[in-house]
């Protein structure tokens, strides 16, 4: 099976090569606490984490926010647009004023702030849910391929190749056309993205499990009489956390852009449910007549993808012990020294 993996996969594999000692670790701290300490040490990742948290909050509290503004994403305001000139918003800066914080949508006059906020709900929701599906499928099939017999490995790898070869856009078009209309569209889009593009993460997990399988502590677990299932759960899964989380953090922004592309092809989320992809598709031709109609969703998309990717990089560095040492985590070193001397005194007293 071809060992070629995608960029994120290659990075993830690099990140997880030697889980073991690392000079920057703190005694008594379990993996998780160290992870947070290393993550906090990276300023960019911290800012990104805050931004992502904010975005999630906005997505969740969308109805509340629009209620505060006193608008909703679907009411038309014909009075605010100039019908003779193609429906361009009348007010300055695209109709930004007291009760329309970010102006009004051309042609329909719907409130842009409300649509943007509700759009976040769909775009982020679809992206996160699709990532969960991809990770779940990728991990299970990846581990099964690595731990199974040669024949199982060949079969699963062949299936992975097929799914990687299937053009995502085209198959989504077909699948989205087949399913009857009353099926909730955002859920359908999530399923399509999730079920079609898990190939790459499966390859990463398989490669990583193969390396872990060779490590002594996994052989020791087999010696102590444990079955393959328990070994997979207790020994392998924790080892997979680093590459999988790293890869997932890079999948989310990818999924957001795929949803936008599907909307561009006319098969994404259907009106009246707003999504950033949909707004972008409708807005890009208004680039000169009503620029803010394009800049808002494009800006939102950019900030989200930027924050998620920076956070992803930060997570990868925090999870990879070797990278942590490259980080020269300043604060940790002094405390660590004190802890070591304490440990020595204690053991040799």
């Amino acid at each position: 099976m071809s060992e070629a993996v995608t960029e994120a996969a290659a990075e993830a594999a690099l990140a997880s090569r030697a889980p073991g000692t690392d000079p920057a670790s703190v005694p008594g701290a379990s993996g998780a606490r160290q992870f947070w300490r290393r993550l906090r040490a990276q300023r960019a990742a911290l800012v990104a984490a805050v931004v992502v948290a904010l975005l999630l909050l906005v997505a969740l509290a969308a109805p509340l926010l629009t209620a505060i503004e006193g608008q909703d994403p679907t009411t038309y305001h014909p009075s605010l647009i100039d019908s003779a000139r193609g429906g361009v918003p009348v007010g300055p800066l695209g109709g930004i004023d007291g009760d329309h914080w970010l102006g009004v949508e051309p042609q329909t006059g719907r409130d842009l702030f409300a649509r943007l906020v509700h759009g976040a709900r769909v775009s982020l929701g679809v992206a996160l849910a699709a990532t969960v599906i991809q990770v779940a499928l990728g991990v299970t099939l990846g581990i099964a391929a690595a731990l199974g017999t040669r024949w199982v490995d060949q079969l699963l790898s062949r299936i992975t190749d097929i799914f990687v070869a299937l053009p995502l856009m085209i198959m989504s078009l077909a699948l989205l056309a087949i399913v009857p209309a009353n099926f909730p569209r955002p859920v359908l889009v999530t399923l399509v993205i999730g079920l079609l593009s898990w190939g790459n993460i499966a390859k990463v997990v398989r490669a990583q499990t193969l390396t872990l399988k060779g490590l002594d502590y996994v052989s020791a677990a087999r010696l102590s009489g444990w079955g393959t299932r328990r070994i997979a759960r207790r020994e392998l899964l924790p080892g997979l956390a680093a590459p999988v989380i790293t890869y997932a953090a890079l999948l989310v922004p990818q999924n957001i852009t795929v949803e936008a592309a599907l909307s561009f092809l006319g098969v994404g989320v259907k009106p009246p449910t707003p999504s950033w992809g949909q707004m972008l598709t409708a807005a890009d031709v208004w680039y000169q007549a009503a620029p803010q109609y394009l800049l808002l969703p494009a800006g939102a998309l950019f900030v989200t993808v930027l924050a998620l990717t920076v956070l992803g990089d930060g997570v990868r560095t925090a999870l990879d012990p070797r990278a942590a040492s490259r980080l020269r985590v300043g604060t940790g070193r002094r405390r660590e020294h004190r802890a070591d001397t304490a440990a020595e005194k204690e053991t040799s007293s």
Partner: protein
């Protein structure tokens, strides 16, 4: 030990693997599109056809046969070729024959041969650009790691991934072709007819497709170079007074070569099909655009033919990557 001993065996194994994969893809596509709603006969016959006429068209396109019979014809066509009546005469479609398009009665193989060069020239050109842009930025940010240039470049590359192609493409076109009128509006010119015009017209589509892909290459080049710089042999060369420039240029960059090949293969493969957005935006008559159109009118032969072509390129790209990987890093034995 070198990877070359296994090349003929490897090529044979991958060849069989490719055929199996493509066979599976064709079955999946056939089943998925057989179920797609939309009465093909009605679409082909036209909106105001009487039920009798629709039935005649369905018979002529052999639509009323069950799925497995139609799939058998498809395989028969691939192996032996098919005969189609054009009314006045019988047209033989030589093997490998992918059938006729329901809409245009053109041989799908001919359609693909006409459209493939467009998609390939788009994707190959974009590949060259995204490699230069991506690796260049990657090396620069690895060289200047920690300093301002690196942060700037990383933010720029992230911007690339964050904006969809149809936004970048359109704005680029409006600014460059419309207002500044530096470039002509993209209009596909055959490479064979006029290479200079061909490149001139494709410059903008190449740029917008490359901007998106370059970002992931920049990030990968940077991280694998940093990884290589932490290796022991870099310390050896430093201990022998070798200058920083050649350490970065000769050794660190060489280390990043293998992962970059792997990523390039994957991106190239999916770009052939995935460039549909760029093709649609710039009106390039490529495989992606035709495929999306065919999906809309449920033109099964065209859809199956083109998905197979795209699938073939993805699998081919991965196989080539494995060989290059083995060449680049002799320690890898071709599995």
């Amino acid at each position: 030990m070198s990877g070359f001993g296994g090349l003929p065996g490897f090529v044979l194994r991958r060849g069989i693997g490719t055929v199996l994969t493509l066979f599976a893809i064709s079955v999946i596509v056939y089943v998925v599109f057989y179920v797609t709603p939309g009465d093909v006969a009605q679409i082909t016959c036209g909106p105001r056809c009487s039920p009798a006429q629709v039935h005649q068209v369905a018979e002529q396109l052999r639509l009323d046969e069950p799925l497995h019979v139609r799939y058998w014809h498809f395989i028969e066509g691939l192996v032996v070729g098919q005969d189609y009546s054009t009314g006045t005469s019988v047209e033989h479609c030589r093997a490998p024959c992918l059938g006729l398009s329901y809409q245009s009665d053109q041989q799908v193989t001919g359609l693909i041969l006409a459209k493939l060069p467009v998609s390939l020239s788009l994707v190959f050109g974009a590949m060259v650009l995204w490699l230069i842009l991506g690796i260049g930025t990657g090396v620069l940010s690895a060289w200047r790691r920690g300093r301002l240039t690196e942060r700037l470049l990383t933010a720029l590359t992230l911007a690339g991934t964050a904006t969809p192609v149809f936004v970048i493409g359109l704005i680029l076109m409006i600014v460059v072709c419309g207002e500044l009128q530096l470039l002509p509006f993209p209009q596909y010119v055959n490479l064979t007819d006029d290479p200079e015009q061909w490149a001139w017209n494709l410059l903008l589509p190449w740029l917008s497709l490359a901007l998106i892909e370059a970002a992931s290459f920049a990030r990968l080049t940077r991280s694998s170079m940093l990884e290589t710089l932490a290796e022991d042999h870099i310390r050896t060369f430093r201990a022998y007074g070798v200058g920083e420039r050649s350490i970065i240029g000769r050794h660190a960059l060489r280390g990043a070569f293998a992962p970059v090949i792997a990523l390039n293969a994957n991106n190239f493969g999916s770009a052939v099909g995935g460039a549909v957005l760029t093709e649609t935006l710039f009106g390039l008559p490529g495989i992606g655009q035709e495929l999306v159109h065919a999906v809309n009118v449920v033109d099964l032969p065209v859809v199956v033919g083109m998905v197979l072509v795209i699938g073939f390129f993805v699998v081919l790209a991965n196989a080539v990557a494995d060989v290059l990987y083995a060449v680049a890093d002799r320690r890898v034995v071709l599995s």
